[in-house]
């Protein structure tokens, strides 16, 4: 989890990620952030977040991002 928070704060240092679970729907993370984040996550966790995973539900909160990572790691 700490590793993820580190990556997130690197992508968007201005946001307190623990405070919200509507990161995408409230427009806090825009599509540029997501694209950048996906690249970083793919590398850091050695996973492959694909085009089909780019849906708001997967990026709305730290927990949902963590779930996505865990799911892809298990696959």
């Amino acid at each position: 989890m700490n590793k993820l928070l580190e990556i997130l704060s690197d992508v968007r240092p201005d946001i307190d990620f623990s405070q919200t679970n509507l990161l995408v729907e409230d427009g806090i993370l825009d599509s540029f952030d997501i694209v950048m984040l996906v690249g970083e996550l793919n590398e850091a966790y050695e996973i492959k977040i694909g085009v089909e995973d780019l849906v708001p539900e997967n990026f709305n909160s730290v927990d949902s991002i963590m779930n996505l990572i865990n799911r892809l790691k298990d696959e």
Binding site: V35, G39, E40, V51
Partner: protein
Amino acid sequence: MIFTSSIFWIFLFIVLLLYFLIPKNSQWIVLLIASYVFYLFSGYGMVTFLLFTTTISFFAGILLEKINNNSKDYLNNNKSLTREQRKEFKRIIERKKRIIIFISIMLIFSILGFLKYYNFFSLNLTTLSNKLSVNLDLPSLQILLPLGISFYTFQSVGYIIDINRGKIKADKNFPKFALFLSYFPQIVQGPISRYDQLAKQLYESHPFNYDRVKFGFQLVLWGLFKKMVIADRLAIPVNNIFNNYLEYEGFSIFVGVLFFSFQMYCDFSGGIDIARGISEVMGINLVENFQRPFFSSSIDEYWRRWHITLGSWMREYVFYPLSLSKAFTKLGRSLRKTFGNYLGKILPTLIATIITFLAVGIWHGPNWKYVAFGLYYGILISAGIFLAPVRKSTLNKLKIKTDGFSWRLLNILFVFFATTIGRYFARADGIMQAGSMLKRTFSVYNPWVFFDGSLLKLGLSRHEYSIVFISILVLLLIEIFQENGVHIRTTIAKQNLLFRWSLYLAAIFTVLIFGIYGPEYVATDFIYQGF
């Protein structure tokens, strides 16, 4: 066999008769035979290319799925593997899949590449070598482009990638799969359907349904109206101006390009309406390819409403894979270090956008003008993204209300103007002509051409202009209704019998009387059929 030719209507009549008369579970066989008969009309040899692409993508799909399944089974049966071992196994599988994808897509694209782009490369390489005094003399070949090649090639590549992504299951039935790639209403000019949007509908049985058949034919009629009454009529002044552009300047040229905007839209979307209408008659819903693009209030939105299936194909299979690639992640990181977080964040997207639009441009054809066309849109959209914060703060400072109708109208007009400029490249014979026409447009101010009868010398009489004007007004009115959520055909269905049938008959006679039937009643080609 063009949609607007009489032979097509005889063909369609026979197909529909068979389609609804034979046992329902064999309907797909009628469609397959009809599609190949339709295709054979475009030239016997051309079928070879279609069959080649069908075979390659069919077997690539099966192979990819087999690897996917086998690797899943292996991992499930060997839970004791260490993390490192699993990772190594996955790496090998990924490599295997990548090789299959690479070979199959290369084979499919190389046919398209050779047939469509060979002469372009040979000509440019010869010119370049002459300049470098190497004197390479590559021959130019007389190549006939197989019907719909740009459309079915993209559809088959999408299919292969979707299987690799695990989004769809591979088709195990070759004849059925052949139908997916050759389905006759859409092979001419799209829409570029995805396997999960279309295949199942083609294989299922569809009983005769009066309402659906009625709605389908209404859409066909609407498409014919757009194509034959508006597009083919506007083609006359458009051809006149573009073929003799040195005789025109200022507003005369601009009017020609404006006419071409409407011609292009009515030609392409009319053709799609006919394809969707015929499909609807048979119980098949083809995806939409147009959503009233002239109502877009940004260029970005325009490309989500114009040739939607090409745009979404490019987004799905070019833009995102590029943006999410390792190279782009690295690029983003180094740009962030140099230019700070904001620029580092958007610059890779801007680069991916420009590359994607270059691909959109080149998809249209082997010509530098399409490279310019792609770059034009790529740069325009990138500039929009880049300047978004400046735009926002300027609007705030000037206290401009952006939620009102006037602001939307202004944006719509801007997009319409910007896309009209793009059409200089789409219609001119080459990049030099497009450039020259642009220069001739903006170097002269001659608004009197609207009043001194100049426009009447372009091949359309006053009476013909009235037909075009009223038709475009009808089109505009219908689209305004649709923009406001009115479903025209359902609304008409609710009216009294007398009103309904008067309307249908009026529409039929409008197409029959005011349609343009080409020299000696030869149906005119659709523009996008050439791509």
